[in-house]
Symmetry: D2
Subunit: 299 residues, 4 copies
């Protein structure tokens, strides 16, 4: 038998960058969590301990902060592209780079009915995400851009049922015509080549897909969370054609009717116990099949 | 020496109650985390294991859910008062009860420009809190109501300085005229007797104090987080005179200027590292001294 | 009405200090989370923004790290005492200081049957705690030392019952002769003056109380978690007479029998669902009444 | 363009099963977190909302608990195999199943110098893991078994250096001959076909690999975390030849020398700040190339 180093990568995780735009009295702010991952000619670092081709993760950190100023963060996708291309283009042993960005939402504090110039309130648990992968040199260089959101917590208090399911000897669940459906959605979509051309507005595309997903959750009478995911994915790709694939992961955050009849109290879908664990976990990948799959974008 | 049971209490923590108001097609929702704590004649349960005076925590849980329907949740303070009074009035061995409620914020999903009837999005990390303590029977019964908020995360990108501080041999901090100031505020205020009369609007009072606190954070040029807290507390008590004491606890979530000059890049308060730990922790109690203190309200 | 600053304090929270003793090839290590809190003449910092009496929290941080070398960490209680006394004795505006220390457990990696000289494995979720309060100057100076543990997670799979409890209209719990009892114990004890004399061995006292508590949990046939707490507290104070008061807080981490009879499978206390929330929460304070109470030690 | 459902799967996540073996007075206990995921003919649930082929996640939960009794948990790998094979063999629409198990460690409480019969203490943050994938029917059925550990937190206070690395214009890190190296290791290995034959001892193999990994961490003078990972992986596969591939993921939990010289205090690798974020993140896949790769085992 021969034991080999089959693959490897390394980087700096969770650089917490806050970038303030203060060209005028009306500031802008972005609050990011940035992770870099480098792939390339680093086998010697593992096999012999030779670090001569290894760009320290500390240097990657410095670059992450420096680029927030040097290149700015017009969009998180654009910023991640700049970083990933830098590592691949400018650091010789690097053949591929992935940059992940989480962006935390802030809204202007409302003072006297107006948004304040330089004071913000953290709004929502929701996180906007991007993941950019760049590999190869020169004309052969390929870039993939994923965008998405996570921890978008949604609940509908009616308009959801679950019935007609398969039963076996371990099935005790009762059918329901009306239940609370709640989830903490993770959605990640991949942009096709059209989005990589100059002038594509990643922020507008994000807002449109977020709204498409939200509207499906709200307006579709749900026969199952599976069905809701499919319609979310379909609506997203229809709304923004530059997005060619979307992956959805949705925990079914169970809200159980609390049995109050034991105390002579009626409960017609009014009082629920929000349970922690276990939870259903439903996944779907929806794709526009006019575009080729790109598994390497997700690695 | 004589070893004694000096004090004791028990209850059910973190009942996750979701209450849907569905009298019309336009639902309302409250999402709560409720903790009950009972005080009273329970020493035998400890000393001899005799449970005959112990109302099980499971029963407390059932009551929490049942009251969400039977009494409703017009305000979290009112709901907590109903629960606490029930335990003291109706369960013989109970001489005092505390009920803590955390309320998680949801806003209606925007669909077609309007808030949806029965679909919500979790909004903000911010949690509204209430803690009600009731003790004693009949005319001697005393109730205290605390209300508050936590995880209200605020940031201002200018308008904050820190200078002129005390120095000793371990001091290396440099003075600053302009820094990022950020915190995750915990504020808890105590209502005086006037708020316990019928018709007091706890929800309106909450909104007013929250706004007063926010405005001070935004508009005061801060000489230190200490000063900001004092003005927050003062503004809160002035805005809602029924609130007679407020306790503020504010981590100073440090945002450090990232040193980019090492790479020839200027950074005039534009790129920061948001550090996790350690953090400053500033506390203040602000009170209206026309009203007596009530340490038992905070136990 | 007159709004006043009723009280205040401030400090640096969660300094993550790792101290390596490397006088010989056989290293020793302590891994600490240290929080300092200062009380004193700081009202101007709040009321007028004057910082001239405020020792920056950054300086407190520096001191925490410096003292880990200058004074060492022979015991966490001794280290906390050194820090607290320094702030009170050496920083003029400070009239009182509290230092909290959490210590994380590591054990030597076993290599070839022996504990390794300089490699450790993090062992257990359990955290050892200390909280020292020093106030006043010179001969009037008073010091209080609390010690304790938290996240000591214990489970017994038999030897626990719960029956004979009070019932009301919301009671549905069934009595049980045999259940799983599990908790994540928080125990904090206060040492009397005898422990502050030279030569008292805080580490030995900690180990003895921890063992006393553990043995009671294991060997007492429990009629209720309340009874277990009383016996834990009593055994602790009897084992180490220098400890004069102990406060115990124990979540009842419910393990519910999973109903398998629906599938024709018997379950005699063999398969449980470990539930997250809600949980019972039981508290007790056990004291040696030969010693005066000291509520200020716990503030 | 045509939008299609490209792939999908669903299941029940985080079933918290505690299994007590009580055939004698000396109990045994396993504490598990079990997640099931089913793949198969479920497209209609997404596309049309037809649930007739969907086994509810509630049924999967019931099965997880029932099998803990019916099949037992001799090893977590064996238990996961039973569950996965059941879903594939007995539920018609299911063509593949994955079962993930986390096992939390408990050790017997020491009472009077002996391990107690039925009382345990949670020991370590470390979690043992298994992930079993079964797909296909009858003779074409294929099973893959992954095993591993996570949150194994290790630290060495000497015997680690980092120097000779690549430098660019953003590099400011200094070389070091002696540093603290710490990580919270995630290791997952794949067993080849030999381990699926009767009589293979998964528990013994786990213990051997864990020990091999630990010994490499302790005894190898580390030139970089990369090198340590390679030697860990190599040692693991050599120690247990039935393991044919191992994936290692190691955060470099930075411990920074605290600069005490500013206060005239020397610090020769004695006082460190344990930083939270960012952290290096090093990954390696080590494989025995006598065995074919099996990417589907990791999906």
């Amino acid at each position: 038998m021969s034991i080999v180093l089959a693959s490897h990568q390394y980087g700096k995780a969770e650089n917490r960058v806050v970038r303030v735009q203060r060209d005028s009295a009306r500031h802008e702010i972005v609050d990011l969590n940035v992770t870099t991952t480098l792939r390339g000619d680093f086998a010697d670092a593992y096999l012999t301990g030779d670090q001569s081709k290894v760009l320290p993760t500390d240097t990657q950190k410095n670059t992450v902060y420096a680029y927030a100023k040097q290149k700015g963060v017009a969009s998180i996708e654009g910023y991640a592209l700049e970083l990933a291309r830098h590592f691949v283009d400018d650091v010789v042993p690097v053949t591929g780079a992935r940059v992940d960005v989480d962006a935390y939402p802030w809204t202007r504090a409302q003072v006297g009915g107006t948004g304040h110039d330089h004071t913000w309130v953290r709004s929502g648990s929701e996180v906007r995400t991007a993941a950019v992968t760049v590999s190869g040199q020169g004309e052969r260089q390929v870039a993939h851009v994923l965008a998405g959101l996570k921890e978008l917590t949604l609940l509908k208090s009616t308009g959801s049922q679950f019935k007609g399911f398969l039963e076996d000897e371990y099935t005790t669940l009762r059918e329901t015509d009306d239940r609370v459906m709640a989830t903490s959605l993770v959605a990640t979509w991949r942009y096709g080549a059209a989005a990589l051309e100059d002038g594509f507005d990643f922020d507008a595309a994000y807002a449109q897909i977020r709204q498409a997903v939200l509207e499906q959750f709200a307006t579709l009478h749900s026969l199952a969370l599976q069905q809701t995911l499919w319609h979310m994915g379909k609506a997203a790709l229809e709304r923004v054609p530059e997005a060619v694939e979307i992956r959805l992961l949705a925990p079914n955050k169970h809200h159980f009717d609390y049995d109050l009849e034991r105390f002579g109290v009626q409960n017609h879908g009014e009082v629920f116990h929000a349970d922690d664990r276990p939870y259903g976990l439903i996944q779907a990948v929806v794709a526009n099949d006019a575009h080729p799959a790109a598994p390497e974008a997700w690695a």
